[in-house]
Each structure stands twice: as C-alpha cells, then as structure tokens.
C-alpha cells in the first residue's frame, strides 16, 4: 500500500473549547483513492480537512495531540511547498476568493503566479482549467459579481489549476444546481484518473455512492466507520447516526421488508434498477 497521508492518535480542540473537535483519530489514506467523508453537521468533517491540510493548529491555533503525516513527514514541518502538494477547496466559496483580483481569469491565475510559473504557461493552464470547470464565459467578470454556484466553480478551478497531488474538497456543490453538481463530480473523477488522492466532504450521498472508493463516517468528532462505500452505504443502521444514505438503499431495504428478495441493497441508481428488475423477474416466474 502506498500511504500518502496518515493521522496517528490525533485529538484536536479549537481554542477556548473543552470538547475536542476530533478524537483519537487513526487513519491511513492511500495514494490515488477517492475518499468520501460523511456525517452530520458538526461531526468533525471540516476539522478533518483543516488537520489534513495543516491549517489546524497552525492557522486556527488550538491544541493538537498526535500527528498528521504527509508522505511520512509531519505536516507542520513543511513550509510553503505544501500549497503545491495539497489543494484545498473551502466550504464557503466566499472564503476562497482572494479579494484582490479584478477578474475571474486573474483569480484563477493567482496561485500559479505565486508559484513563479512563467506567464505563457500560466495562460494555457488557466484556459484549460476554465474550460474544464465551465467558467470560460466568466473570465472577464469580477469575482464579486458571481452567483454562489459560479463562485464555487471558480474556487475549484483556482485549486485544480495548481495540479496538486492531493485534493481536499469541503462541500464543493452546496450552491450548485443538479447539472453543475454532476459536472463537478465528473471533474473530480477526471482528477482521480490522473491518480490524484481526493478527500471530499459531501452531503449529496447519491454522488458519493456513484464515485467514491471508500467512505469515512464521523459522529461527534469520532470516526465511527471507514470501509468500502458499498458496505457503508447499504447499512441502514447508519441512519441512526445522523448519516444520509442513498434514497435507493432505503428503497431497497423497504422492498426487502415487504418480502421482495433483492440480491443486494443497492447504493446507486444503476444498481437499484438491476437488482430490483432481477428480483421482480424471479418473483413473477
């Protein structure tokens, strides 16, 4: 296994709070995998992101026990080069926008300029990423004139353009329409094909079911489960932990309760159609 990031006995509390936001976390993340992070609001998902990026405690202060390792080295021992290794997309896109650039194009170029990439290379990369994230038409607009959904795509573009190996993305689609949401997920899938490691916090569970490899479930600061997505998303006991499960999984379980013999609890739409059609055929024989 090629472990890219690791948390060893991590407990972290924000300043002036008694209860840790993350408790006794042990976690190994493999390179090139897509991890979905789920759990109710306030369960520690965003804090996990901040820890993995090294923002906690370096920026948020607070108290950290244990250690977070990036490629075997403590994350706090990295300097500025960490920005090139780990891309971070904030939950609230309004936080991501630098606020000092006049146009979306400049906003997306900003990180590359900081990395000292030559101007002619910047232009090409920015144009490619703007195409990929479908924000080309916004190039000349002010970042402050954008809608929430547009801003969310600009925030994502400004991180993707840096081509980091690891992407930590906190609810990238909360302001997006269904079409925009699907397109963000297909962008993330492209990144996965490029062997990027992806850690994604997302409430839209049906999309986690479609795209993620493994799922981490958090509750009150504790990681209560970390397994392959199929195992977690088809386990209805997680509903009691405040976790959203795919609509099709709930449908599958209710059909089973009514006596329809499904071969598995489905977690995606495609799987649901298959197992239900199969069960109906069997029953109606």
């Amino acid at each position: 296994m090629d472990i890219v990031m690791e948390c060893k006995d991590v407990t972290y509390s924000y300043p002036l709070t008694k209860k840790p936001a993350i408790k006794n976390l042990n976690l190994k993340l493999e390179r090139g995998k897509f991890y979905g992070v789920i759990g109710e609001n306030g369960s520690g998902k965003t804090t996990l992101c901040a820890l993995l990026r090294g923002f906690a405690p370096s920026f948020y202060k607070g108290e950290l026990q244990g250690e977070v390792l990036l490629e075997g080295k403590n994350i706090n021992e990295y300097g500025g080069e960490i920005a090139a290794k780990i891309g971070f997309v904030f939950q609230n896109p309004f936080t991501q926008i630098s606020g000092i650039k006049d146009t979306v194009f400049e906003e997306v170029s900003y990180g590359l300029e900081n990395f000292g990439v030559p101007a002619e290379k910047i232009e090409k990369r920015v144009i490619d990423v703007m195409k990929m994230t479908n924000i080309e038409t916004l190039a000349e607009k002010s970042p402050f004139e954008l809608s929430g959904g547009q801003m969310q795509r600009v925030a994502l573009a400004s991180v993707i353009v840096l081509e980091p190996d690891i992407l930590i993305i906190d609810e990238p689609t909360s302001q997006l329409d269904p079409e925009g949401t699907e397109s963000v997920f297909s962008i993330i899938e492209t990144l996965k094909e490029k062997k990027k490691t992806i850690i994604l916090v997302e409430h839209k569970i049906d999309l986690i079911a479609e795209y993620a490899d493994e799922v981490l479930v958090f509750k009150e600061g504790t990681m209560i489960a970390f397994r392959r997505k199929q195992e977690i998303l088809s386990d209805l006991s997680f509903l009691e932990q405040g976790v959203t499960l795919p609509q099709v999984a709930i449908l599958g379980r209710k059909l089973q309760e009514r006596g329809l013999g499904l071969s598995a609890i489905p977690v995606t739409e495609k799987q649901a159609v298959e197992v239900i059609a199969e069960a109906l055929q069997e029953r109606n024989k």
């Binding site: 929430g148 269904p178 009514r258």
Partner: protein
C-alpha cells in the same frame, strides 16, 4: 388576500446583464411553492422582485393590491420577508437572540409582542439552545437557521427562502421541513428556492421551473418531475426514486420512496 402576481416582468442589472424576461407567475396566498432551475436561470432575481429589493424594468409585481413600483423596499419588506442565499450577507449581531430581535425592534411593537415574536421564531427554527451564542461561531448550516429565525420574527405574511437546503444534513432538512409545515399551518405563503429535488418532491404543493431567464412550467411535484421535456430543457433531474421507477417502467408518476415501494410491489 395577498396573492403574489408577476405580470410580464423583465429586468436587467445595471451594466446590461439581462436576468429575467417576461416572467409570469401567480402564487396564491397561503401556497407553499418551490422554485427550481439551474444556476443563472433567474430564480434569485425573481424572488428579489417579490420583496421589492429589485423593481421590474418592464411589467409589474403585485402583492395583493400593492404594486411594488409604488412602494419603497422597506415598505414591501414588511409584507414579504427574504432569507438571503448567503447567511453572512445578513448577520450583523453578536448573539443569535439579538440578531433575531433586531427586526421586530425596528417595528416599534409592544415589549410583550416583541418578546413573543423572538421566542416563537427561535422555537420554530430550533435555535433556542443557541440564543446566547455568537452566530459567527455556528456552522454555516446553522447560521442559515439564524437568518430564517430573524425573518420569521418579522412576522411577514409572505416568506422567501433562498436555497435553505444548501449544505444541510439529514437533521437540517428535517428541521426545514418542520419549519415549512409550521408556516403553512399558520397560513403564510412560503416560496423556497432549492436544488435538492428529493426535498422539493416531498415538501411542496407546487413547483415552478425556471430556465434561461423564463418560467418553463408550474405544476404539482408529480406533474413536474414526470415532465421530461421541461426537466430536460431546464437541465434538471428527477428524484432518484423516480429515475429508478422510470427505468423499471413503473407508472403512476412516483416521486417518493413510499410510492416507489407500492409501485414496485404491485408490479
């Protein structure tokens, strides 16, 4: 009765960006309505017309017998409350309670009435336990409920929620459903913009689809979520259970899990 009527409304932002074109809408007093559509379809601009934040370039917006053209935004906002998409555009106070109290305070109500409004709004939204907290220390999803409470406390007969489902978890969505039900029972008109088709399918009696600056269609969730032409045009999708039923060829315009279970078992 304060029906809300948009008659042939068009609007461009300063700078010339045309946001909505020839919008016609009729929302009956006491109706619980969802507006759906892509980002940029004109949803937020349309609802900002309804509370007078924006005034039409062409056409008119009527709230009962009140034409928004003849009133100031402050006057219209006494009748129509609006919860912004980004709660941080709306939060100015250092505690949840003072945030919620601010609106009623400006209305020069009696002390009893003011207290009652604040208490009710905090109760309906479940924000009572946070009343002494600084809103900025609450997560984004909770800050949204603070702004919802603040608008409810204004006591307007018509309320608009702009994407309240964004970033909500299971509990948040349940809380929102409960808020919508309570306001509906109180006889208020509630207009909600949402991208969450599952939430829309199970919480509203009427759905208005917008696309490309116009209204595509209005109807019940059952009508809308099985009108493939409108959905495709507006680039929207059916709820997941409807998609499964469609693929299995199950009839009955199913839009929820309960319906899907019955439909599949009867097959």
């Amino acid at each position: 009765m304060k029906d809300l009527i948009l008659k042939d409304v068009s609007f461009s932002y300063p700078g010339g960006f045309l946001a909505i074109e020839h919008i016609n809408m009729e929302i009956k007093f006491g109706e619980n309505v969802a507006i759906v559509g892509q980002n940029g379809a004109g949803k937020t601009t349309t609802v900002k017309m309804m509370n007078g934040l924006l005034k039409p370039d062409e056409g008119e917006v009527l709230i009962g017998d009140m034409n928004t053209k003849d009133y100031t935004t402050a006057q219209v906002s006494r009748v129509v409350g609006y919860v912004f998409q980004n709660p941080d555009d709306q939060i100015f106070h250092s505690t949840v309670e003072s945030e919620v109290r601010y609106g009623p305070k400006t209305m020069k109500l009696s002390v009893e009435e003011e207290d009652k409004r604040v208490k009710e709004a905090l109760e309906i939204t479940g924000m009572e336990i946070y009343k002494d907290e600084n809103p900025m220390n609450l997560p984004l999803s909770m800050r949204k409920f603070v702004t919802i409470a603040a608008v409810i406390a204004m006591g307007t007969e018509i309320l608009i929620f702009d994407e309240p489902t964004a970033g909500q978890d299971v509990e948040g969505n349940k809380r929102l459903s409960a808020i919508l039900r309570t306001l509906h029972v109180q006889g208020k008109t509630v207009i909600t913009i949402s991208h969450d088709m599952e939430f829309v399918a199970s919480n509203f009696e009427k759905v208005i689809v917008m696309a490309k600056r116009k209204v595509v269609r209005a109807g019940t969730p059952k009508e809308i979520f099985w009108d493939f032409e409108s959905l495709e045009y507006a680039m929207l999708k059916q709820p997941y259970v409807s998609r499964v039923c469609r693929a299995l060829g199950i009839k009955g315009n199913i839009i929820d899990i309960e319906g899907a279970v019955e439909g599949i078992m009867d097959r």
